[in-house]
């Protein structure tokens, strides 16, 4: 079960998975709080930073328990799990927006392309009408992306086939997004 470094990648892969298996895939958001990490040993800190020991120690003592957010897309039928982890508060709104985009896919509502940050998943999936934009190479790219996290090769092949069959727009959307990510 891979963790994606970028929420956009997670969104894209989740969208592909949802496209292949819309009625079994579920998305779980786990928000958990852990006590702050234990303080470094005092003697070590004293050696490492002798110039500003008081200030740093005060900061460390005042450290509140830290929250973490893990988004997980899971399809029990094929066993595909996609994850994204963050601890930044600034991302929450955007992530819930992504949940909304994926929720629209779950519902089977056409997802319109929005000029907002979630444009990665904004490719159209209208029932039965795959846009003719996606060539073979793009469909294959989408399929291989969906395959990577699959633990069982048989299920992966199936998911790939399904994604390849209906993933014209998905592959195209992913292509642009991936380029952006590499920059």
């Amino acid at each position: 079960m891979p963790y994606y470094a970028k929420s956009e990648d997670w969104l894209h892969q989740s969208a592909l998975l949802l496209q292949a298996r819309p009625s079994t895939t579920r998305i779980t958001t786990r928000y958990h709080i852990k006590p702050a990490r234990r303080l470094p040993k005092p003697d070590k800190a004293g050696v490492a930073a002798p110039s500003q020991p008081e200030e740093t120690q005060q900061q460390q003592e005042a450290k509140p328990p830290r929250g973490h957010l893990v988004l997980k897309t899971y399809d029990p039928a094929s066993g595909v799990t996609l994850k994204y982890k963050t601890s930044k508060a600034a991302e929450v709104t955007r992530l819930v927006q992504m949940l909304g985009t994926l929720g629209r896919r779950m519902a089977g509502v056409a997802v319109e392309t929005t000029p907002t940050t979630t444009s990665g998943g904004g490719d159209e999936v209208v029932m039965g009408e795959a846009p003719p934009v996606g060539g073979e190479s793009e469909a294959a790219a989408g399929g291989s992306g969906a395959q990577t996290p699959t633990p069982t090769p048989a299920a992966g092949g199936q998911a790939q086939a399904v994604a390849g069959a209906g993933a014209g727009g998905g592959g195209g959307g992913g292509k642009g997004k991936k380029k952006k990510g590499k920059r």
Binding site: V96, G100, M106, A107
Partner: protein, 132 residues
């Protein structure tokens, strides 16, 4: 337990998040999936083995929230669920984002210290140059 209305759901979800704030540990689980129970569905057939890929009409979505207590802590478990109709999705997610943002207060706030320090330096530099 039956499904809650959106208002009830958000109120209780806020409570759930608040319960996390008072303690230094714990978790909140939020799940969403397609709601297929008791929905008239076109069964998969030979001709169309993936009938669920293109439903005849949009399906509702089931949203669940729990504090993840189970086994010996079962008594303390909080389970909330609500069903969002396709036409309510946008309104629901707008409120959902708001509640989550407020509730997930223990996440790392945006770090502005570095930028501030830089700005200060620049100010000092700008002020220092003409005098020297």
């Amino acid at each position: 337990m039956g499904h809650l209305t959106h208002d009830e759901f958000f109120a209780k979800l806020a409570d759930l998040f608040n319960a996390r704030k008072t303690k230094a540990h714990g978790a909140v689980y939020l799940t969403q999936k397609r709601f297929t129970f008791n929905q008239e569905e076109t069964p998969s057939s030979e001709a169309d083995p993936f009938a669920d890929l293109h439903p005849a009409r949009p399906l509702p979505i089931l949203i669940r929230a729990t504090n993840g207590k189970s086994k010996e802590h079962r008594a303390a478990k909080v389970k909330l669920s609500t069903v969002v109709q396709p036409q309510d999705l946008d309104a629901f997610y707008a409120r959902y984002a708001e509640v989550c943002k407020v509730g997930m207060a223990a996440l790392k706030p945006r770090d502005r210290t570095k930028r501030k320090a830089k700005a200060k330096k620049r100010k000092v530099g700008a002020a220092g140059l003409p005098t020297s």
